[in-house]
């Protein structure tokens, strides 16, 4: 093949990828919006020092509770700290705890669900009853109980939220494993002498990735919301580091009437992040659902 022909093929592929993306955006506009929100969230968290206009911890007694202005885009709090900069830096714990907790939840809940579905029998029965018990309690209550035992701080909060969201993952992964393990190709691999580990990793997990990806997007928004809730309740990121939840509690609630910007901006940030991730999750679910795939 000549160089010109190779170039034409590459162009066609590029156009094909661009076309696919545009088709996906047209097909799932809300999902595209969610993807933009998630991208912006990740970018802001990664580049917080470049985006923030002030030191998020620096107090200023002269600029206490000042409204939004060119100097302070989203005003200042009781300690004269720049709300915009704190909001930007607060994206970091939201992202770190959100993704971290999601991974903990997926790892723990996924492993337990996979084994529960694969092994079956009395083991499955016991695991599912424990899962039932944990699911009977709201995520936040479980997370608060775990933080109360482990103590506060970013890592512990991450673990607490991850543990609290794992039962749902267990349930979804188990439900997906049950039909897959009865497929002929799994039984064939078993007959050929494949180990349990190989069966799980090479034959079952790849075939249950679709529901795992969907549940991951759902759990990501749950984890971000749980982080904000825990910080709101005083169990999350410790002072003076900012988090959206702690910005909403404390000063935010105390000065809500005289300085509404203290609750409006963090409230919008939490809502937008959760909305965006949920919309993205819905789009991913739709994309993976064969019943919906040709319906648009």
């Amino acid at each position: 093949m000549t160089a010109q022909a190779l170039s034409e093929v590459a162009t066609v592929r590029r156009m094909s990828r661009t076309g696919s993306l545009l088709r996906a955006v047209r097909r799932y506009p809300l999902g595209a919006f969610g993807l933009i929100v998630l991208t912006v969230l990740l970018a802001v968290a990664a580049a917080a020092p470049l985006v923030a206009t002030h030191d998020p911890l620096a107090t200023d007694r002269v600029a206490r509770l000042v409204g939004p202005s060119a100097q302070h885009l989203m005003g200042t709090d009781q300690l004269g700290r720049d709300v915009f900069s704190r909001l930007v830096y607060a994206a970091r714990p939201a992202v770190i705890i959100g993704f971290g907790a999601m991974l903990v939840g997926l790892g723990l809940g996924g492993a337990v669900g996979l084994l529960s579905g694969y092994i079956g029998g009395i083991f499955d029965l016991l695991v599912q009853r424990v899962t039932d018990a944990m699911m009977a309690l709201p995520n936040l209550v479980v997370a608060i109980a775990i933080v109360a035992v482990l103590g506060g701080g970013q890592t512990r909060v991450l673990l607490a939220i991850g543990l609290s969201i794992s039962p749902l993952v267990t349930r979804v992964v188990r439900a997906s494993t049950l039909p897959v393990k009865q497929n002929d190709y799994v039984e064939a691999a078993m007959v050929l002498g494949a180990s349990h580990f190989r069966l799980l990793i090479r034959h079952i997990v790849p075939n249950i990735m679709a529901p795992i990806i969907v549940i991951a997007s759902v759990e990501l928004s749950t984890a971000i919301l749980a982080e904000a809730s825990l910080s709101f309740l005083g169990f999350g990121v410790p002072a003076p580091d900012p988090s959206w939840g702690s910005m909403l509690s404390g000063d935010g609630r105390r000065f809500m009437q005289q300085a509404p910007w203290l609750v409006i901006f963090p409230g919008v940030a939490v809502s937008l992040a959760v909305l965006g991730i949920n919309l993205l999750g819905d789009a991913v679910r739709d994309a993976f659902d064969p019943r919906l795939r040709g319906s648009r």
Binding site: L57, R64, Q78, L79, P238, P240, R254, Q258
Partner: protein
């Protein structure tokens, strides 16, 4: 006093003057002990201080009040217990003790000690003090006391219990100077002293110096859950975490009091919820709003916003006994980097006062003036000299970097705000001190304070109505409230001397000598004293604001206008 006094805008000078009068009034009463050549202006004397060394019971001008109604109040959390001789929190006072018990004397809103259960107080020739009890004072009609009459033996047993030498009795220092008691009859108590004791009347009038019935104590072993007093209200409900209720005592010894039928106190941890409930008419009064919150209610004729100077001190406390802050140089370096006015501005919206060891609410006789403090190292606006001195101190201690662990507890909002502000002040100072903040629950904070494992912390302590409580109780070697482990034998001598000095001028001089030493050795860094605010609905009448521990007792004269 001008009836609008409490409704005028805050003036630092006026508020401090108000506090000063009360202690001077108590001092005048002490003049009757025959040990004083005090020539304080007579204007400060009140009906409680008569020239002959005796005082008679005074009644708040009555007759104008209206009977009936329920006063509703809310606390941020439960009291730990109801034992008046052990607890030290305003929550204990509001949820029961403050209105269910009486003391021999009581502090009015101007901090003047007035006779309460005592109808007469007399200083005898030998320096003993005789308290004559009102006739026919009855305890509440609750078993096992069942409405029996108060006797002088109850008074002796109560004072003896307060001065029990055990860690939980934090106010033993109040009555340790009493050498003996005499009870010539059921209505007379004589307290004997080897030497005169200057703060006696303040301590007798303290809201925690409650007179309890002996058999209630014997029946339960302690008074943590039992509330049986002689006070104007009877505790009828104590649901921890929920509601406390007190009903009017029909047998109260002042027949025309109280006006209110009942007081209900709900537990509402969230300050915004309390303010919302107040606005919605579900509460009658909020007694601990922040200055910023209080400002939101000012100018609206549906509310009365009261302010006073009798509020607690915010202090940085160093562990002087062990750890890095046992080195005085490190304490001083830390102290010099602080910017007190910034804390006042950030935490209180500017509504507070600089404070030395004795809070400014006691007035210039006992406390440094604001002008004096403004010029002191660590307090002055120009920080460069302070920072240079702090660097020298660190260098002398062999340190270029110092990273102490700074603990604080919540839910007290001001602790966290103060801690964050101090962390930033130290970072900005660039002297090499950087603190690591550690937030604890109160239940985790207290053990570190008690076992001396903390390094440095910030806390706010309640208002004290006399200098002895600011000084002796906190800094005397081994004193029951000395949680910093500070000890200085030379200062102990001065602390004891001021307790025994009946001449107010001479005592004041001793008090300032003590404060000068404390400012030099810095066992604490005194940040500020807050302006106290209270908000109540305009139909609550006859109520005067005072410091948190003493405020519940003012409900006896309050009524609700239809």
């Amino acid at each position: 006093m001008d009836s609008k006094y409490w409704q005028r805008p805050l003036s630092r000078r006026r508020a401090i003057k108000g506090g000063a009068m009360g202690v001077m009034g108590a001092g005048m009463l002490l003049a009757g002990m025959g040990c004083s050549d005090d020539d304080s202006p007579g204007g400060a004397a009140t009906a409680t201080a008569t020239a002959g060394g005796s005082a008679t019971g005074t009644e708040t001008p009555g007759g104008e009040g209206t009977r009936g109604g329920q006063l509703r109040h809310a606390l941020d959390r439960d009291p730990v217990s109801f034992d008046p001789h052990i607890e030290a929190s305003f929550r204990t006072q509001f949820a029961g003790v403050g209105n269910a018990y009486n003391s021999l004397m009581t502090l009015n809103a101007d901090l003047q000690a007035e006779p309460d259960l005592a109808s007469e107080v007399e200083v005898l020739e030998d320096g003993s003090v005789r308290f004559q009890l009102h006739e026919g004072v009855k305890f509440h009609d609750i078993a096992p006391v069942s409405g029996r009459v108060l006797t002088s033996e109850d008074v002796v047993a109560s004072i003896e219990r307060i001065r029990t030498d055990a860690p939980e009795f934090q106010r033993a220092y109040m009555f340790e100077q009493i050498t003996d008691f005499e009870t010539p009859d059921d209505r007379t108590v004589i307290m004997k002293f080897a030497e005169p004791f200057a703060p006696l009347f303040n301590y007798v009038a303290n809201p925690f110096s409650a007179i309890i019935p002996q058999e209630a104590l014997e029946a339960t072993g302690d008074l943590r859950q039992t509330v049986i007093g002689t006070g104007p209200f009877v505790q009828t409900r104590a649901d921890m975490g929920s509601t406390f209720e007190l009903q009017r005592n029909p047998d109260y010894f002042r027949a025309d009091r109280p006006y209110l039928d009942s007081i209900r106190i709900d537990v509402m941890p969230d300050a915004s919820s309390r303010l919302a409930a107040l606005r919605a008419g579900e509460l009658t009064i909020e007694t601990r709003p922040t200055p910023d919150d209080a400002m939101l209610f000012q100018g609206d004729d549906k509310w009365v916003v009261l302010e006073h100077s009798q509020e607690g001190q915010a202090t940085v406390r160093y562990n002087c006994a062990s750890g890095p802050f046992a080195d005085e140089r490190l304490r001083k370096a830390f102290d010099l980097a602080l910017i007190r006015q910034e804390n006042i501005d950030l935490v209180l919206g500017g509504q507070g006062y600089l404070s030395g060891p004795v809070g400014p609410g006691l007035g210039d006789r006992w406390s440094y003036t604001q002008q004096q403090l403004d010029a002191m190292p660590g307090y002055r606006e120009d920080k460069e000299e302070d920072y240079a001195e702090a660097r020298k101190l660190l260098e002398a201690a062999g340190l270029t970097e110092f990273n102490p662990k700074f603990i604080y507890y919540t839910p007290a909002d001001t602790n966290e705000t103060n801690a964050v502000a101090i962390q930033q002040q130290l970072a900005r100072a660039g002297i090499g001190i950087n603190v690591t903040l550690e937030h604890l629950d109160y239940a985790a904070w207290i053990p570190q304070m008690l076992d001396g494992s903390f390094e440095v912390t910030v806390t706010t302590s309640g208002f004290r109505d006399n200098p002895d409580e600011y000084l002796y109780a906190l800094f005397a070697t081994g004193a029951s409230r000395n949680d910093t482990g500070y000890s200085n034998p030379a200062l102990d001598d001065l602390l004891n001397a001021q307790r025994l000095e009946m001449n107010e001028d001479a005592r004041s001089e001793l008090v300032f000598q003590i404060q000068d030493r404390l400012m030099e050795e810095v066992p604490n860094s005194w940040l500020y004293s807050a302006a106290g605010f209270q908000i109540h609905s305009a139909n609550l009448k006859g109520y005067h604001a005072t410091f948190s521990h003493n405020s519940p007792r003012q409900f006896v004269n309050a009524w609700l206008e239809a």
